[in-house]
């Protein structure tokens, strides 16, 4: 029993080590192009670091037992073991883990990501309707654009609503999503980080993420992140 425990623990340690090393070595996510998106991307990685020992523990227990504790039929019986304090330890450890991730990245990240706008925010209104998006720039006097153009390094607040059914504003590369609900305006605030465009990065698209009927899958318009000056030029151009 001692020896079995030691060997299984070793297996657990090895699996955890290998798993964590893989997580460090390979970035399994695309890059995030907004400040809050970077937070979210970090949260995904942090949760993976926390998850690895749990995954490895159960895997080690299963694999070790299947290899070592085989029987060939009902005549061979196992060795009953008393639970003793093991369940208490288990309860304590799993609770500690759960409460830790609730606080970080959980609640901490929630507050970060839900942070509202400051006075410098550029307001952009996005309206969903079956099956496209309309983008308005009230401060710039631009309406009904079919492309979402945002200046890099500038905090923006998107006001999202819908004309008909539920839709959801989602730009995968920004890692920002919020539902478009008729009769309600939802606001999200973030700062784009890097100039890029849909033509180059398929994740830079404003895609509907809530099933909205027939052409839901095609409810996409391109997104372009540009330098501030270029943004101003674009506004001028559109006005003409």
């Amino acid at each position: 029993m001692r020896r079995d425990l030691a060997l299984a623990a070793l297996l657990w340690a090895v699996l955890t080590g290998v798993g964590e090393a893989l997580l460090v070595a390979f970035d399994f996510q695309p890059s995030a192009l907004s400040d809050k998106g970077e937070r979210i991307k970090d949260a995904v990685s942090i949760l993976a670091y926390f998850a690895m020992p749990v995954l490895a523990l159960v895997l080690a227990g299963l694999v070790y037992s299947v290899v070592r504790f085989r029987g060939r039929g009902p005549e061979e019986e196992g060795t009953p073991i008393r639970a003793g304090i093991v369940p208490w330890i288990w309860l304590g450890a799993t609770s500690a883990l759960a409460f830790t991730i609730m606080l970080y990245p959980g609640l901490w990240g929630t507050v970060e990501v839900a942070k509202g706008s400051s006075s410098q925010s550029l307001t952009v209104q996005v309206e969903g309707l079956q099956w496209t998006w309309l983008v308005h720039y009230p401060g710039q006097g631009l309406k009904n654009q079919r492309e979402l153009v945002l200046p890099v390094g500038q905090e923006v607040t998107i006001e999202v609503t819908s004309r008909d059914v539920l839709h959801s504003f989602w730009v995968p590369a920004l890692m920002m999503k919020i539902d478009a609900i008729p009769g309600t305006v939802n606001r999200i605030t973030f700062t784009p980080q890097e100039a890029d465009s849909y033509a180059n990065n398929p994740l830079l698209r404003l895609q509907c993420a809530e099933l909205c009927g027939l052409s839901h899958a095609r409810m996409v318009i391109p997104v372009r992140l540009v330098e501030k000056q270029e943004f101003l030029n674009w506004v001028e151009q559109q006005k003409r």
Binding site: P30, W90, A98
Partner: protein
């Protein structure tokens, strides 16, 4: 009974035929009444959705009476003599009160639904071999996806509780039947109209709102949506009544000596799921009803100026607990099978039970984790994050019990045991990825992507359906009296285990890389991974051909199994296979723990009195 065994096909299907006929008559009657009402109030008599709704209600009643509720229940209310259950194979096609017959009815029905919905999944995966879609146009894709979803949800709700719950719980607790046998029959016979509605809906354009039916879309789409709502209300009624029946049965019909702490873990899991079904399904039915009324009568609970988000609160108030209705019986099976095949007592049994009950208690407090992107209100986001992640703690106790049981056991790796161990592994992945969807920041990116699709298939297929397969192989000899083919069983396991993991693991990656769910087309850059996923899904699908072949062949020609081929201690194995109609010749007396394998000096779990023994003594 030899004569009734030989009834012809036509005659044997008498009750089903009569049910269909009376159902049609009822439907015509209801439609007519609605039309007359319209004429009387000076309107167009063919107001289709309204006529249909009234027709459906009358048709449902006609169907139920026709399949035999008339002879076996309603006549009694009218002071007329009732008739006993039919015999032979005919009883499987009639309103019959034997819990074992009802269990088989449920199991076979839902396995058929499962295979049909699985076929739809294969079509969807074929469609995705090309990023532009190979098979369906947008509308048909939405329709097929929605149908696959709701059929599978129905399977997940009812196949274990309705099938194995009915067949096994009375046997396991030493009861003669369920507490309310006629109510039990009613819960089953409400199911065929649900299936008929869902398939018939396809003829009028289906519905395109998935299985979640969010308004306002669900108030303004094709008429198929109304069929969906009526079907779900009917199905909900069946679940509520079933939940009530199991709660009463397990609480009051346990054999002498079957104390709570001697109750097999599977019976505990059914009790826990029944509590959920009884309490929460009502919210589901209410949301469907309110939505239907918005559509039919112009109320505006959810349609503007009502609140579409209100629907989601009511809907998920049921539908999150519902996922525990799926999985807790799955846990029950996993632990049950693991302990019998580890030949060792169930480790931390009371802790596992406490885990089930804590999940039941918490599950009503987590619904809004499905709504993290509907709002930026931190109070809502934060509190539901905390309650949801807290559920991982009682769930962890189930893993403790499973791991502690196999530790130092003598694992007998039969097909059911392989499925049970595979289920533990799969559900672990499902559970860990669930944390990503409970964590608000990560869910903002991952909600409504293939990450979610992968997550819930891991919990439902990986956890529950693997448990279902373990149960089918484990109890096959009890249900049929025959043994399945072990080699084909193992082949099925490996095809399904590998196919499943290879198909669904890459979907997490797809979600992280921007593939949203419920889409008929996707970004061309993701085509390679999607082709791989489809190929693996076909591999998994082929496993079910092996399964089906094995089951059908073994049912007819398998070698005779005997009462207790696994030498298991629990009660259901102490009676002949298949069990006689009266279950036990005399009430059994429970004298020990159900899982004391390898315990020095442990007596049996149960003493079966011979027929008439108790009366004499």
């Amino acid at each position: 009974m030899a004569a009734s065994e030989q009834v012809g096909l036509w005659q044997g299907l008498y009750y089903v035929r009569r049910g269909l006929l009376w159902g049609l008559v009822g439907f015509a009657l209801g439609t007519g009444i609605a039309a007359l009402f319209r004429v009387a109030t000076g309107g167009n008599p063919w107001w289709l959705e309204h006529n249909f709704t009234v027709g459906y209600v009358f048709g449902l009643i006609g169907w139920l009476l026709g399949v035999g509720m008339w002879e076996r229940w309603v006549k009694e209310w009218l002071g007329l003599p009732t008739q006993p259950n039919p015999h032979g194979w005919m009883r499987y096609f009639a309103f019959t009160t034997d819990h074992k017959v009802i269990g088989v009815q449920y199991l076979v029905t839902f396995l058929a639904v499962f295979l049909i919905a699985g076929l739809l999944a294969m079509l969807m995966r074929y469609h995705f071999l090309d990023s532009g879609g190979l098979l369906f146009d947008d509308g048909v894709y939405n329709q097929v996806m929605s149908l696959h979803g709701i059929l599978m949800i129905a399977v997940a709700v009812a196949v274990i509780i309705g099938g194995f719950g009915n067949f096994l719980v009375p046997l396991m607790i030493g009861a003669r039947d369920m507490a309310f046998p006629r109510l039990n029959a009613l819960t089953y016979w409400l199911i065929p109209p649900v299936a008929i509605l869902l398939f018939a809906a396809q003829a009028v354009g289906g519905w395109d709102t998935g299985w979640t039916a969010y308004p306002p879309l669900a108030v303004r789409n094709a008429a198929g949506q109304l069929f969906f709502n009526l079907a779900i209300i009917t199905f909900g009624l069946s679940s509520i009544l079933g939940g009530l029946n199991f709660m009463v049965t397990i609480s009051f019909l346990r054999a002498p000596g079957m104390t709570w702490w001697r109750l097999p873990i599977f019976a505990w899991s059914i009790l826990a799921a029944s509590i959920l079904a009884l309490i929460f399904t009502q919210a589901f039915a209410a949301s469907m009803l309110m939505e239907a009324v918005d559509r039919l009568a112009g109320t505006s609970f959810f349609a503007p100026p009502g609140k579409p988000i209100l629907y989601q609160h009511i809907f998920w108030f049921y539908s999150h607990p519902a996922v525990y209705i799926f999985i807790i019986p799955g846990f029950g099976i996993l632990l049950e099978v693991i302990t019998h095949f580890s030949r060792k007592p169930l480790f931390a049994y009371r802790w596992a039970v406490a885990g089930f009950l804590a999940i039941v208690a918490l599950s009503g407090l987590v619904w809004a984790h499905h709504m993290f992107v509907t709002t930026t209100e931190v109070a809502l986001l934060g509190s539901f994050l905390v309650t949801t992640e807290a559920i991982s703690i009682p769930t962890g106790l189930v893993f403790l019990s499973a791991l502690g049981t196999i530790w130092m056991g003598r694992l007998w790796l039969t097909t059911p045991m392989l499925f049970a161990l595979g289920g533990v592994f799969n559900f672990l992945i499902g559970g860990i990825t669930g944390i990503y969807l409970a964590d608000v920041p990560t869910d903002i990116q991952l909600s409504d992507t293939y990450f979610v699709t992968a997550h819930f298939h891991y919990t439902i297929i990986g956890g529950e359906i693997f448990a279902l397969m373990a149960a089918i192989y484990y109890w096959f000899p009890k249900l049929t009296g025959r043994m399945y083919d072990e080699r084909l069983g193992k082949l099925h396991f490996w095809l399904m285990f590998l196919g499943f993991n290879l198909a669904f693991l890459p979907m997490f990656w797809l979600g992280l890389h921007g593939m949203n769910r419920r889409v008929a087309i996707y970004e061309p850059g993701l085509e390679g991974v999607n082709m791989f996923v489809s190929a693996a899904a076909f591999l998994m699908g082929s496993g079910f051909l092996v399964f089906l072949g094995n089951m059908l062949r073994s049912w007819v020609r398998g070698k005779v199994a005997g009462a207790n081929p696994w030498q298991a201690r629990t009660l259901e194995w102490q009676v002949p296979s298949p069990p006689p109609e009266e279950n036990f010749p005399a009430p059994p007396v429970v004298v020990g723990d159900p899982y004391d394998y390898g315990v020095a000096g442990a007596g049996p779990h149960v003493v079966l009195a011979p027929a008439g023994g108790r009366e004499e003594g």
